[in-house]
Symmetry: C2
């Protein structure tokens, strides 16, 4: 017997319709590639998204076919978010920071029918246009003045022409909420990138969960500036959450430097922002150098990688800005945990609160998580025991795009599927999770796990160390033992014994690296992360002195 | 093409599982029928709900069969909420304030298999037990000491015995989220009560929407005291929302007087409460008489009927408690609108804010609303034009229980169904809705609508008037014209002309009642509302002097 409630699918278009009807005059402000500040309202967004939906259909793009974008955070990109998904097509956000070969590979793998791109990326499209297998339309996201006089791009179109030529009446179609809505590729360190295919249902449920007071706490009174790019897991879902609550939105466009961001924060009364630690480094550099404060910002979401403690302290103590430490993955839409205090924790001392806030947080409703040992047995939540982190929930990946058959999930005794995150973490009795390592990086010594990240963080505190990576080296008795690879600061001196002595009292004895190797350079990836897989390859036959 | 996200149904059991895993030590405190204060945790709730689920199955109650409850707000009632719905049965909350005949009729109509009742209602069940057609089990919600020595109730069982006899291992079944979860009857003024059958999906989505910062703003840091009964639209969904966020819950049991409530608020650090205006009248009477303040309460949800302006002012100005004016219906799970300020309204003057807060609020995400004229044409949102209020959303009724064929909804040109609320309201340009009348009470004069409530409110401001009802009287030219029916205060004197003169300058000329009739009494219903349908019947042949 079914309930007798309205059968109303959760569709992305309903977010836009809600914003248009209930928050029609609320502003969306964008710093444009054109250089100026553009402002309009949700009502304008709704009208132009309907025009763009008509335009997409007139280009011959069919239901669930992919529409690629290569664009900064701006109102035209938001229009495409709603026009493509709302019309039943799949929005595919391409990452312009990838190598052109990879970009072409991804667009082909996705089967993109069109690529919409900001003027910034005109050279990139000029260079690659001939190579895409499925793309039929290239559209420059600007007005006539931005169109090149000459181009090798076949049949290049102008975004504003498409809008102008399209009627603004469009009835958003109603369909199964499980239909695909958008696509985002992860760039794994090994193998080809893999696509994560979101649905309307997963997107709307994720938005509901993300606006909750215990998550990002978003309301119509907020002015949200997403620094996190719209090509990176849909800017953590903020373009959807903003419509859900009718918040003001401020888009930074291509200008991500500290001064540009700060000016926008202040000029537009931004109350909440979101981004990775490196962006905030730039912003705080600017505010520090110029003795500036934030006059309207109350909180900022920090994710992507762990927030350095010094940055957390600086935001909270010096600027009075609450840091919302968050954790997620492309495979999770992305939000899994957010670090907000629980009932009973209001009275903790500042130091105790700081310890809580240093963690990645607790599961938002919809996400469940657990840590397991090598045999899949669930481990206790004592804040000490580390295990592989598994998650489940309605906005978490079931299988990768076009790879239905693969065994992506692990099934428990009750038959429920869990996604293995590849992270190693500990969960405390209050449910606060802290990432301690990646499964591929953790060192498995005699069945026990040693966190490579902990050892690296300690080593990098040594005055002579510029960078340190800790990897597993083979050991006949313990299977694996930690090997520390150190790059010294220019001109600095330190012996193996100096480095090892530095660990004294900071870790359990058996965690102490078995050896230290000094190198001239540690390989870094495009995002600035150490490429430990390359180091593992290089040292795969290394013989430890303890072996 | 479907998205490739986990196919995880939205089930009521997932709310409990989340609370147990992520907020296991958070407290649930109840004032018991037994007279004492009982306290335990979400972990205990989870364990006992699993025991009760086993017990329900051992009683032979099958999937989607109805489990009736006749109980106050307390932890055992909450256990049944999760045990029955979680196990796939339908929780049916019976209203003990109804006439015994009506109670029996509703239990029969619902096909209840069991009735669980608080000791308070033992006499009621003793008197009616023989009359239920489908009820096989009667369970007294208490321990052995509360069981009567002698009883006419066939096979009366003890709740705590059922718990004690049942194992605490139970795997919550996974099923279609559209399956029926709970049932609540509306008591219309005419005809038999009608059942509203909620689903797991509607319940969980309603909880998501209700906790949002722009709605009830519920977090794990809250301690919620639902004064609104759990037999009245599931206490406005608070038992579900509480598990979703892991808030502390404080249940008042049967003691709803001002002192008992106040003591509980203070003793348990309650931060937010919810109820109808009459309850707050009692509470404020107690605090005023004893010069008390609230030391932890930050806000209170007021719904069920419009919050009197004086009460709103008293809470906000004198007690510093934010009033969340809300509107909904049993048919809406119940939340439709909540009155929280929007971005840009923070800077309104206190008088302007007060004017906004006097309205019933704006739609929470998921609910859409519109006002229409007699032809179904949508009316403008100008804050002045009144029309019939229609709503739609995933937690809004599609058809009444066991009445699938009836035309409950109205369909628009796009084929979308809307539920006619029976309310007449105006919506301002910011989307704030204000109820101005009931459709059956509004006076249709020459195609234009006159609010009976407005005229009554003005008339009741006259010093000689104790009560006033305004109904439509037939008119040859205008179809309907207002007829004012007045009950004077004892010993007070006023003529028809005095009363009509009192409207001068307060309304448009054409709204002025065509006649005034003085009566000795105006009939009132069980909830204290004027029974205007009886007056309409009495005056159906009344000839207006203007006719």
């Amino acid at each position: 017997m079914l309930g007798q409630m309205m059968n109303q699918p959760l569709l992305i278009s309903s977010l836009l319709t809600h914003a248009e009807r209930h928050h029609g005059t609320r502003e969306i402000v964008s710093r444009r590639v054109e250089g100026d500040i553009h402002r309009y309202t949700y009502r304008d967004l709704g009208r132009r998204a309907r025009q763009m939906a008509n335009a997409l259909e007139s280009l011959g793009i069919a239901t669930t076919q992919r529409v690629g974008t290569l664009a900064w955070n701006g109102y035209r990109h938001m229009e495409l978010y709603y026009a493509a998904s709302g019309a039943g097509m799949v929005l595919h956000t391409l990452n312009p920071r990838l190598h052109p070969d990879q970009l072409v590979w991804i667009a082909d793998n996705a089967g993109d029918q069109a690529i919409f791109f900001d003027a910034t990326f005109l050279p990139l499209i000029e260079a690659t246009a001939a190579r895409y297998a499925t793309v039929k339309h290239f559209v420059l996201m600007g007005d006539r003045s931005l169109m090149p006089a000459e181009t090798r791009i076949p049949n290049l179109r102008c975004y504003e022409d498409l809008i102008d030529q399209s009627p603004d009446h469009y009835d958003w179609p109603q369909f199964d909420e499980n239909q695909a809505s958008s696509l985002c590729y992860t760039s794994g360190t090994t193998g080809n990138p893999k696509g994560v295919l979101y649905s309307h249902r997963s997107t709307v449920l994720h938005a509901y969960a993300s606006i909750a007071p215990d998550a990002l706490n978003l309301s119509s009174r907020d002015a949200i500036l997403p620094v996190v790019p719209m090509f990176h897991v849909n800017a953590w879902g903020l373009p959807y959450a903003a419509c859900m609550v009718g918040a003001k939105v401020v888009f930074p466009g291509a200008a991500m430097d500290g001064k540009s961001l700060y000016d926008l924060f202040e000029d537009e009364g931004v109350t909440v922002s979101a981004g990775v630690p490196t962006v905030w480094q730039g912003l705080l550099g600017h505010t520090e150098a110029n003795s500036l404060k934030f006059s309207t910002m109350t909180r900022t979401v920090i994710g992507g990688s762990a927030c350095p403690p010094a940055m957390l302290k600086m935001f909270e103590d010096h600027y009075g800005v609450q840091v919302l430490h968050a954790w997620g993955m492309t495979e999770m839409s992305p939000l899994g945990t957010v670090c907000t205090l629980k009932g009973g924790q209001e009275d903790l001392s500042p130091a105790e609160k700081f310890a809580v806030q240093s963690k990645q947080g607790r599961a938002i409703f919809g996400v469940d998580m657990k840590i397991v040992d090598a045999d899949g047995k669930e481990l206790p939540w004592d804040g000490k025991t580390s295990g592989e982190l598994l998650v489940r929930g309605p906005w978490i990946l079931d299988s990768y795009f076009n790879r239905h058959g693969e065994d992506t999930l692990r099934f428990d005794a009750a038959g429920l599927g869990w996604f293995p995150t590849g992270d190693v973490s500990a969960i405390d009795p209050d449910g606060f999770m802290q990432i301690t390592d990646r499964t591929k990086d953790v060192i498995k010594s005699g069945g026990e796990w040693i966190s490579s990240i902990d050892l690296e963080n300690i080593a990098m505190g040594h005055p002579a160390v510029a960078m340190a990576a800790c990897i597993a080296a083979k050991h006949p008795k313990w299977d694996e033992r930690p090997l520390l690879i150190v790059m010294k600061k220019p001109g600095a001196e330190a012996s193996k014994e100096d480095i090892l002595a530095f660990f004294d009292g900071k870790i359990a004895k058996w965690w102490l690296p078995d050896d230290v190797v000094f190198v001239d350079a540690i390989p870094l990836g495009a995002t600035g992360k150490m490429q430990k897989n390359k180091l593992r390859e290089e040292f795969k036959d290394y013989v430890l002195p303890t072996a």
